[in-house]
């Protein structure tokens, strides 16, 4: 290995280390909410980073300095899609089966809030894959519209509309479940 290629390799390894350190939780969270269990989420996360390492040099070259998170999430997105396709004949957990994570609230909040959160999870499963994925990226990963657009291969405008419609549909589904009539003039 020449000095120049050695330096380039070291630089690439540093970039991978940063990518891994900065986005392990993002990739894992996304995978978990897509497949609904820790075991498969670990498989997808592992495969995502292996693929990322293989293609990192090219991705960095083509990103023109833009953040690589959307590219990474797109890898996880494709792997999760393959996972669902491979297991389409077998029973699988969906997001409805995902237990809302436990977070440090006080007891009263937990009792009052858990059912509300379960209701949101149930209704998320009624959305189209694309709408659900956009909401996972927005709320679990805190991605911007631009990042989500790049991860989904859409324009910024189309992504903004997608998220708006996803939230609106979810709102309607939750209201229908609660039996709460929508207010006049809501639309």
């Amino acid at each position: 290995m020449t000095e120049a290629t050695g330096a380039a390799k070291a630089e690439l390894d540093r970039a991978f280390e940063d990518l891994y350190r900065d986005h392990l939780r993002d990739v894992y969270s996304y995978s978990y909410y897509r497949v609904g269990n820790h075991h498969d989420a670990e498989d997808i996360t592992e495969q995502t980073f292996l693929q990322a390492y293989r293609h990192l040099e090219r991705a960095r070259r083509e990103s023109n300095g833009r953040p690589l998170r959307p590219w990474l999430i797109r890898i996880a997105h494709n792997l999760a899609a393959n996972h669902h396709r491979d297991r389409s004949r077998r029973p699988q957990a969906n997001i409805e089966a995902v237990e809302p994570p436990v977070h440090p609230h006080d007891t009263e909040q937990i009792v009052a809030g858990r059912e509300e959160l379960r209701s949101v999870m149930r209704r998320l499963d009624d959305l189209s894959d694309e709408r659900r994925e956009a909401l996972i990226m927005r709320f679990a990963l805190d991605m911007s519209n631009r990042e989500i657009a790049r991860a989904l291969g859409k324009s910024d405008g189309a992504t903004k509309v997608l998220i708006h419609r996803a939230i609106k549909q979810l709102e309607e589904l939750i209201e229908a479940e609660d039996g709460t009539p929508r207010e006049a003039g809501d639309d």
Binding site: E17, Y20, L24, R25, Y28, L124, I136, L170
Partner: protein, 112 residues
């Protein structure tokens, strides 16, 4: 409730329902093991190719198909070894012993 308020309320619920999930500690170990396995496989392939070369060196050199294997093994092995070292660097603070040896051993295997 007004439309913007309802949106805000639902967005707050979504933020609460879709909290980031912390990956388990064992995940870094799994990734390291996979990279080690790939490295060892590539190393074994190189070694196997080297054996063939000593037995029928001239014949192999004439057959361009045999050149693909070592080149592929070298590429896969180098990439995996690099990634292994990188993941190892991240884990070093948590597990100071063993990992560096694993990475160094993998690299030594590749160089043989």
């Amino acid at each position: 409730m007004t439309e913007p308020e309802k949106h805000l309320d639902l967005e707050a619920l979504l933020s609460d329902a879709l909290r980031p999930i912390e990956p388990p500690e064992r995940l870094a170990g799994r990734l390291e093991s996979t990279l080690t396995a790939i490295t060892e496989q590539a190393s074994a392939e190189l070694s196997s190719w080297a054996d063939e070369l000593t037995e029928s060196e001239l014949e192999s050199l004439r057959d361009p198909r045999n050149l693909v294997r070592p080149v592929t093994a070298l590429a896969v092995g180098s990439a995996a070894a690099g990634a292994l070292v990188v993941v190892g660097m991240r884990r070093r603070s948590r597990r100071p012993s063993g990992l560096i040896q694993t990475a160094e051993s993998a690299l030594r295997d590749l160089r043989r």
